[in-house]
Symmetry: C2
Subunit: 100 residues, 2 copies
């Protein structure tokens, strides 16, 4: 994956690396792994080490994409929903304060 990696390339690479094992594990066990990684990111935020934060971010992204693949979601298409704020349609978001 060269610099400039698209979301679609990332999803394909994760599937090439782990897809067979992910499908064997199933969506519930895979979702649990995502939650584990969210917990590890919480810990990394508390500790504040930049390298660990980068690693835990990559783990959360990878497991999110894996869950997406298992339920048929194209992550690049999903991300396009955020081409502008999906609620107010603006960039920057103009939603009323307190709504987010």
């Amino acid at each position: 994956m060269p610099p400039g990696m698209t979301l679609r390339e990332f999803q394909r690479q994760i599937d090439a690396t782990y897809g067979a094992r992910d499908r064997a594990r199933g969506v519930d066990g895979t979702f649990r792994r995502l939650v584990e990684e969210v917990g590890e990111l919480a810990r990394a935020l508390r500790d504040g080490d930049p390298r660990t934060l980068e690693e835990e971010t990559s783990d959360v992204l990878a497991w999110t994409v894996t869950v997406a693949s298992l339920c048929g979601v194209d992550v690049e298409r999903a991300a396009m929903r955020y081409a502008n704020c999906p609620k107010c349609g603006a960039t920057p978001c103009a939603c009323p304060h307190g709504s987010s």
Copy 2:
């Protein structure tokens, strides 16, 4: 954002849309929002509606990227860690079964 959106473009777009509000909220409140969205993804997995699954996936991705921005993580650089399995270095992953 055209089709072929890179992870870096996605992070920049989220920052352009929400960055000022995210920085005002701070990392802990933003992380809480990520956890809320993970919960909504869990519910979407139970219900199985494809459109809701796509939406909740996009929300988890967006809030993950927001947390990353607030702690100085470049998500594209982070994702490059998964160019192959970060543990065994192979595609497909050749880690012993049971380790993941």
